[in-house]
Symmetry: C2
Subunit: 358 residues, 2 copies
DNA sequence: CCTGGCACTCCCCGCGCCCGACTGCTAGAG
DNA sequence: CTCTAGCAGTCGGGCGCGGGGAGTGCCAGG
């Protein structure tokens, strides 16, 4: 669909904006009379009818059936979001709740992510999703192998994001506490100040060989580093699915189930949101932390044809970008949700940068 | 309600069992003709009608309305579960899937708990819940304070269940690596072999005082031990809420929302399941690992009047008991779910005992 | 270009109706 | 005494129908 929509004159734009606004609030198709009664447009309903008919011809509105009011189309919402809506800022109340949340938030990335989704779903009344910045880009801080018993040990890797991996290992051969300490020291001096991404298995093997650490221990170190880099599955959290029950568009059980399935499968959810991260280079590279809205079919998933998603990247220090998202019905209060998501993303980024382990 | 139900003669028992069985499978009220057609009872539908009328008088069946078939009452399900149903054992397929799941399961308690709920919800097609054994009863294994930078440190507490707590701390005053090592050693030698429950703040303070560890560090140690004992909130996981959407009894949105609210609030969920742990002394003390079924109003929660819960305790080594539960409609396949829950609980217990850190 | 008016369309809702499923009862048979 | 066949009674659910209402499109006139 090319962008050859005829430019909207001022009155059409106002009418479109009002229809979208009204529909978002009432969830009922909007008629010409409602419009003239609730908003003083200075013209009669007949005129509005003509305008609405043209807006429908232009693809901005659709009629569920002949004798009903109009409902915005994807293009209608799109125009509203891009050009007609006035941006909102956080209400004092919301700002306060966000501030309170992060005042004494955890230092652990994964916990923060989870708490943030709960906060955002509560504030927005929709489904909130967060993905953590890829751990590849975090700075290595410390690794410690801890002797627990002759046959068991604990390995902990700490990065700038907190404890990135921790795991108990059981070894067939007996292991001495000194061996573990020596290996810990060797690893720390070798990897200090590096970025997780650069630390590969080969180098780990080399360090282990230097201190004559055996096969089982080497495997353990490799494993815990792999988890710390988390190359396998990305960290993602979602909360507030039950909020969707309140929206009339999800009273249809099939739609509801389709959405729940998407949320259940973290992989799909990740792909949905991460599109934005990879999609245009501006996010990964530049300073673009602007919120982004995708509406209905723009999401390229049939199950989500009646949904919209607001995504906002957040910065984590000077490396790595994570993503916050709100998923809800297309008929969502875009202005408020964008403000909420942006505000939360900013606070989250500040918090993470602030507590980043130096 | 006292247990003064008249004893059921053989034919009544068979009819009740068949009604429950049929209703569980079809979700439709069961009529006398259906019964005679699908099961060869050797008598006519008129006779069945008389019997069913008596079963209704006895409180085992109810009629949704005059001209409908019968549906089991709480008491009907209860009798079915206690005396009429034949116990099922795991199918080969289920047994295999459980075995596979635990073959390479995590060593970390919290992760195992979560994986188990996913397994059990997948197998049962219902909502699965697991609570971890109280951490109080775990054996203390190791604590390590790790120096990360002059102002930051990491504290890790390991118990017989794996890493019980880990946290990064930020201190205003500078801290030396040696101080942390000395304190770690002191704590380990003092607490080695003890049970978490016994380790109180006073004793921690005493050890800190011995090695002249300052206020900030003492607070950190206290905090990490508190988390490790997890006196504040019990560890609980739930999965598979979207399975409930498939059940016709939850097509009513109000009921669905009521249930989702319960699942969302972990506290309520915990109380629901933990009743069983505290309820009768046999579980906590003895060797009782039998599954337990609570049906409808027995759950003492109006929202759950149409639900049943199967709970099974699982043993964790020789100390502590956790709980596995399946929540679903009253009309659930009790035999299969009991087998699944028991089988999973056994495997879970074995796995935990097996990987317990010695 | 705007407006009032009017005919038209179509959904929604309530009503009444019938159909079907099931019961309870009774009379009679074994 | 128990079982059965038959029959009348009951009630819910589905269906069709019709009216009311909301909204549109169009036209003629200002």
């Amino acid at each position: 669909m090319v962008n050859d929509k005829p430019e909207l004159d001022k009155r059409k734009a106002f009418i479109l904006a009002t229809v979208v606004y009204e529909y978002i609030n009432t969830a009922e198709p909007v008629g010409s009379v409602t419009l003239t009664q609730k908003y003083n447009l200075g013209v009669s309903s007949a005129t509005i009818r003509n305008e609405m008919a043209e807006l429908e011809a232009g693809g901005y509105l659709v009629q569920p059936h002949t004798s009903a009011g109009r409902v915005p189309s994807d293009a209608g919402y799109r125009t509203y979001v891009d050009r007609l809506m006035q941006p909102e800022s956080l209400t004092n109340d919301d700002a306060r709740r966000i501030r309170d949340q992060f005042r004494d938030a955890s230092l652990e990335l994964s916990e923060v992510i989870e708490q943030t989704t709960r906060l955002l779903s509560g504030l927005s009344g929709n489904l909130a999703i967060a993905i953590a910045p890829s751990r590849d880009t975090h700075a290595f801080k410390h690794v410690q192998l801890i002797w627990l018993s002759p046959n068991t040990g604990l390995a902990v890797v700490v990065t700038s994001a907190g404890v990135a991996a921790q795991r108990v290992f059981e070894w067939r051969a007996e292991v001495g506490a000194d061996d573990l300490t020596r290996l810990s020291n060797a690893l720390n001096s070798r990897f200090g100040g590096r970025v997780m991404e650069e630390i590969g298995s080969a180098e780990i093997d080399a360090v282990c060989a230097d201190v004559q650490a055996g096969g089982e221990i080497r495997d353990a170190v490799r494993a815990v580093f792999a988890t710390a880099r988390q190359t396998d599955e990305p960290e993602i959290a979602a909360a507030g699915a039950q909020n969707l029950l309140d929206q009339p568009e999800f009273h249809d059980l099939r739609k509801l189930r389709a959405i729940l399935r998407i949320v259940e499968e973290q992989r799909t959810l990740y792909d949905l949101i991460a599109d934005e991260l990879a999609g245009d280079g501006t996010v990964a590279g530049g300073a673009d932390t602007a919120p982004h809205v995708r509406i209905g079919h723009e999401l390229r998933a049939d199950e989500l044809a009646e949904c919209s998603v607001v995504t906002v990247p957040y910065r984590f220090g000077d490396r790595g970008v994570g993503m916050l998202a709100i998923l809800g019905p297309r008929r969502m209060p875009y202005g408020r949700l964008i403000a909420l998501a942006s505000g939360t993303a900013r606070s989250l980024g500040d918090h993470l940068t602030d507590v980043e382990i130096r």
